[in-house]
């Protein structure tokens, strides 16, 4: 069982009503929004209707919203080595 990962890259503003409705049926509401749908002929037909607007990948499972978000989250690049409280107790102990 695999899934389509569909991302809306271009909006359907000014396109025929059918394209907008297909996007709504797929659950794509705004640009860069991502939805997951099981691979089936009906979903494939829907994608074909809006193939100029979306990018499609095949994935093994549905990712959660947080997982999709975490793909873009960078590393913090720092960590707390010694807090001021620990340092003070160290100094007091000496």
């Amino acid at each position: 069982m695999s899934f389509f990962r569909i991302t809306l890259l271009r909006s359907a503003i000014g396109l025929p009503r059918r394209s907008t409705d297909v996007l709504k049926a797929l659950g794509l509401k705004k640009r860069m929004g991502t939805v997951f749908h099981a691979v089936s002929p009906s979903v494939a037909g829907q994608i074909m209707k809006v193939k100029e607007l979306v990018s499609v990948e095949e994935v093994d499972r549905r990712l959660t919203k947080q997982e999709v978000h975490l793909e873009r989250k960078p590393d913090p690049g720092y960590y707390l080595e010694k807090s001021c409280v620990a340092e003070r107790t160290e100094l007091r102990g000496q």
Binding site: S2, F4, R10, A12, G14, L15, V39, S40, P41, A44, G45, I47, M48, K49, K51, E52, L53, V54, S55, V56, E57, E58
Partner: protein, 107 residues
Amino acid sequence: MFKPTSALFGGLLWKTPWRLSSMQKARQRKRLRAVDRVVDTVSAALQRNGQTSKAVQRWYAEMPREEEMLPKDKYTIFDKKEKTYRKGIHKLPKWTRLSQRVNPPGF
């Protein structure tokens, strides 16, 4: 000194160039390839699940791929009102979000 140009003579003047620039053509090729990639992904996924879709089959039967297309078809479109029966594809409304790949045979 007054230099008579059409912009100064008339009021509102919007000009659309008669052909695409090389960058516009490059972006057009990129868009064509992106659509090809979407269709390939969909068809491969369906094939792996043992399913078929009429829309995908029809696309493959009717539409040429980007690299199979002639430059003429990539950047121009048939128009019966033109003397050469061709005009730039950018004259087509919403041309960046449409798949316009085939033209009448013989033109």
